[in-house]
Structure formats: structure tokens, C-alpha cells
Assembly symmetry: C2
Homo-oligomer: 342 residues x 2
Amino acid sequence: MSDFDLAEHPHRRYNPLTGEWVLVSPHRAKRPWQGQQEEQSCEERPAYDPVCYLCPTNTRANGEQNPDYESTYVFDNDFGALQADAPEGAYVVSNLIRAESERGICRVICFSPRHDLTLADMEVQDIRKVVDLWQQEYAGLGSRDFINYVQIFENKGSIMGCSNPHPHGQIWAQSTVPVEPAKETKQQSLYFEQHQRSLLADYLALELESRERVVAENGHFVALVPFWAVWPFETIVISKRHFQHIGQMTEEEKGDFSQIIKSVTAAYDRVFGISFPYSSGIHQSPTDGQEYPGWHFHMHFYPPLLRSATVKKFMVGYEMMGNPQRDITPEAAADMLRSLVR
Amino acid sequence: MSDFDLAEHPHRRYNPLTGEWVLVSPHRAKRPWQGQQEEQSCEERPAYDPVCYLCPTNTRANGEQNPDYESTYVFDNDFGALQADAPEGAYVVSNLIRAESERGICRVICFSPRHDLTLADMEVQDIRKVVDLWQQEYAGLGSRDFINYVQIFENKGSIMGCSNPHPHGQIWAQSTVPVEPAKETKQQSLYFEQHQRSLLADYLALELESRERVVAENGHFVALVPFWAVWPFETIVISKRHFQHIGQMTEEEKGDFSQIIKSVTAAYDRVFGISFPYSSGIHQSPTDGQEYPGWHFHMHFYPPLLRSATVKKFMVGYEMMGNPQRDITPEAAADMLRSLVR
Ligand SMILES: O=P(O)(O)O[C@H]1O[C@H](CO)[C@@H](O)[C@H](O)[C@H]1O
Ligand SMILES: O=P(O)(O)O[C@H]1O[C@H](CO)[C@@H](O)[C@H](O)[C@H]1O
């Protein structure tokens, strides 16, 4: 018998979705912190801000005026990192110096006309409108012949590089499959070939048995802290049914998906009693027309805070050069989050 | 002929060291920034700080007293993420839920007794003492039977999670090879098998021909912005001679390595006229007793700043869920850095 204890001793955990590992140092949560503290913005936001370029009826940088929208609103990013009309081409000096042109479309989605809300504050029926729009955008962008992958994501909070507090997310849709979904494509396909089952469905069954890391559950979705979580309060939302992308979501599933997003984001806000920053994103199958029977729809939440509203986890020297590392265990984080779900 | 222009159009670049890609959006450097700004600490630091736990003669958290050291000083991290005596063991529920105990040693290296210096301010002969110590530590830690990889790194600046401004770095040495060096091991080994030459030596030859991305050079080392750089002012220092690890560095090479570290870090400080934050780290062959003929010693510098002393590049939503992304081109960054090398 070994004395090895996940809650006590340094260890590595395997992430079957990416094939990579995370270093966990549970004992380290005790170290004192004298480093950088984030500023906490306690400003009250107005429901409408005349200088916000995302509020209804206001004018954006490029001179366009937003409509007086009443639920969601989507438009092309005025400063998109990708462009639909980038000329095709490549720059190849040798196999060591290689670049390829990349085409794409960047979209901005306002979640609500209200400047002062976040997903966590919104009614489930209003989040549902965001989910509906994600579904439409995935279908619309994905059907373009030069778009082979659609990344839906949100940066929430200035600590996550979000430059406008108006509730909004983004979509970057592009010709090639980015690094992270490419890893997940490979791992899920391998697993499916070997087992004729979905990797995440099998994983979810194990988690629903032990319930150690489950945070919230409804008819069609489960939110949990994955065994291999990197960020302190990282969660993953997994659909109970095995399907590949949001285009396949039923009406009922869309309702439950909206509800579990509300549960997770509202629980986050209760962790430190502040509007909890995070980056979130949906991972789903590429839109290149191929079949991806192994792909299983899911959404990641990566919140940076660790100890308090002002102390975050720094992914720096060792993490950049070596390996992602975390202090508190996923089990401890799940316990805390679960107790905060209403 | 294609109109595709690396300096104008969105594109992907291939990183042969990791096998991954980076998205480059040169046109995007123009977008306005209304997001988070870092605080700039302009405090003058004293040469000796009585409450600093790294200054000579002061007492650390665990009650130990630092010696009155005159050049460098190394000790075991009082709150190490790894422990030498962690019990061996594994936790395996299935191939989807797997953890393994990990043993290791975490060390802290004070670069100088002077609280008010950084590597950029130090004399080359004093940086040389740090290099000597890295060499000793790599040999000493690497010779322990449970240490198979030694990660030497520095977090500089509070924005990089550094909790004490006293000039210092760290070493995390452990039983398994972390994710990033594992990727580089694989890629360099493959290349060596195919070509019987070092990937980085071949790459360096191309860069020395064009000089487009070269920042500094001396007899034995070159500093350059790699073609596939992710961070705005990222650089890599590559040895001209192909060797695997710092243990093989000659006296002359150690002198030149110290000198080029000074050149790079001092140039960084001139970019925005402030002490430039970064995480740096040395990548070299594992210490597991195997031969790694493809491994080529190098050092990475990853600085987070993008536009000014207070605006950093956020690696968030798209970058976390999809792919690393950068705005200014590596060529533009190299031009700027090169002009700041004295
Ligand atoms: O060990 P330190 O300096 O207290 O901690 C810093 O560097 C470590 C290694 O990169 C990180 O894990 C921590 O998040 C960071 O705050
Ligand atoms: O597009 P935004 O919100 O201006 O920018 C933010 O999100 C992008 C996508 O994750 C990042 O590349 C930027 O660094 C970040 O500041």
C-alpha cells in the first residue's frame, strides 16, 4: 500500500482530451502571497452608457451605428484578427521557416442591450437567446467554403483582456483548425476508433458515478471540474447526449444549456463575492465537411482567480517553459463551487 | 504571383521546435486599446532591504538565516511545488482518470546580494557567476537518480507573478519531462534522425544569412526573435555550437552566454524605458541518462508587454481555446530590439 494521497502530495494528472499533463501541488496552497494584486473594480455600471460602443443606438469606431437591439446583436469585429479577403499564399524558406496565409471572419456578439449585466445576472430565457444566436452563427459561418473551424468564446473582466464591460462574446472563424481543438480532435478520434464510444461520454459516466467533481447537473448537461483542470476554478460543461456541434442541439437541450450556463456563472460570482472573471469557449467539430463521430460538444470555463478577488494564478516561468501547474486540487474547487450553486 | 505579404496579412507560422502554429495578425497592431493597464511601479529600491527574505543576513519564512553572500546564493524553496520525499504511487480509475505521484526539488537562486539590481543592470562578470551556478545546479540536481529533467527559469516583474523584486530565479527539477521540453525533445529528435543535423543549428544558419530577425550576436551565441514567436518581444538565445546542455558549456562559451544575456535584457529595458518584465527559461536535454544527440541548448525570453509600459498582450479566450495569436510581426519586433542593443 502506498501513502500517496491526491489531496496531499505533488502529482501529475493526465488530460485525455489533449494528451497532455498538469502538475498538481496541493500542499502549496498554504504559501503566503506577497506578489501582485489585481485592482478590484467596484464601479456601478449604468444600464445604458452613452460612450460604450456596444450599447444600442451608439456609434462604433468605424462610424456605423448600432441598432436599438432588444436581446442580442452580432456584427463583424471592426478590428478583427482575421480577414475574409486576405490573399492566399505561403512564405516558405525551408521546412524550418514556413508561413501560410489564413482567412477568417471575426464577429462580436452583444449578449444583452443592458450595459450593466453579465451572463451570470441574465435570466435563463435571455441567455437562451445567446445560445440561439451561437447556433445560427455556427451554421452560417460554418457553411462558408473557406471556414473550417468556428471558435465561440468570451473574455469576461479586464483581467482577461476584455476592453469593454458591456456583456459580449466573440467568434473567430477560420480556414484551419487551431492548435487546441486539433489536439482534441486527435484524442477523441483515437478513442472513438478504439472503443466505438465517445471519450467524454465515458468520462462523464465515471464522474456521475463518483460525483466528486460534479458542480451542477440538469436533464441534458453536467458541469464539473475536470480531473485534469489547470485553472483553479476551471469547469467543463458536457452534454449528456453525444453530439458533435451546437447545430445538432435540440430545443430542449438549448434550454438546459442556457440554464447550466446560468448556474455555473452565478456560482462563480459567489466564490469571492465579485463578478468573477474568466475566459470561456465552446469546443465542437470542425466545419470542413468531414465526419467527426468522436467529437463530443463541450464548453470550457477558465477563470484566473486563485485565493481572493485580487490574487490570481500566474501561468508564468515554469508553466510557460515546462508544464501547467496548479495548487488547490480540482476536488477542493468542485466542493466549493457545488456548495455555491443555487 | 500572390499578393500575400507577411507584414500585412493574417497568417499562420509553423514552430518546428514544438510542431505547433501561431496566428499572426499584423494589421491588428492599429486597434485602439481601452482595456486594462498595468500599474507601473516607479519605486526606487534600496541596495539592501531589511524585510526582503532574499537579502543577505535576513531571516526567511522557515526561520533560516541567509548567509552574508557576496555574489550568488542558492537554497531549497521554502514553498516548493515539488518535494523530494513525495511517496511514490498512482491513482488510476480508468485510462480517462489517471494521476501519478511526482518527485522533485525546487530551488531559488539569488542572482546578486544587491536588492536593487536586475540581470539587465548587473556587470557581465557578475552574470557569469549566475551562469556558473546554473551549470553546477544542472549537474548536481541532474545526477540525482530521481531527477530526469531540470527546468531553470526566471519570473521578472510583478506582472509575471514575481512576488519579490530581489533579483532571483528558480529551478524546478523533477522525475518526468514536462510538456514543453517533451515537445521539443520529440521535434529535435525527429529532425536529427532525418537529417543527422541539429534543427536549431540549421535554423540559426538561415537566420544568420538573412539577419532579418537577429537581435544580437557574439562569438558563441545569437539572440533573435524566432520566426514563430508568440509573445510580442519574444527572443531565443541559441548557441552556435551544437551541444545538449549547460554542463557541456566551455569557459569561453559561459563568458559569451553571460554577455548576450546582458545585451538582451538591457535592450528590453530600453523598449519602453522601464525595467522590462519577462519569464525566461533554459531548455536543454533531460537528465535521465539517455543520449539526446538532437537536443540543442537554448534559452527563451517571453515578455508580456505589447504597446507600452502598461499595456500587455493578453493570452486569453481565443488563445486559450484556439491558438496563440500575436499582432506585431516578429520582424518588426526584431528591428526595434536590434536598434536598442548597445
Ligand atoms: O514560486 P513563486 O515565484 O512564488 O511563484 C511564481 O512562479 C511559479 C512558477 O512559474 C508559478 O507557479 C506561480 O504561479 C508564480 O506566482
Ligand atoms: O478582441 P479584444 O477583446 O479586443 O481582445 C482580447 O481578446 C483577444 C482574443 O482572445 C485577444 O487576442 C486580445 O489579446 C484580448 O485583449
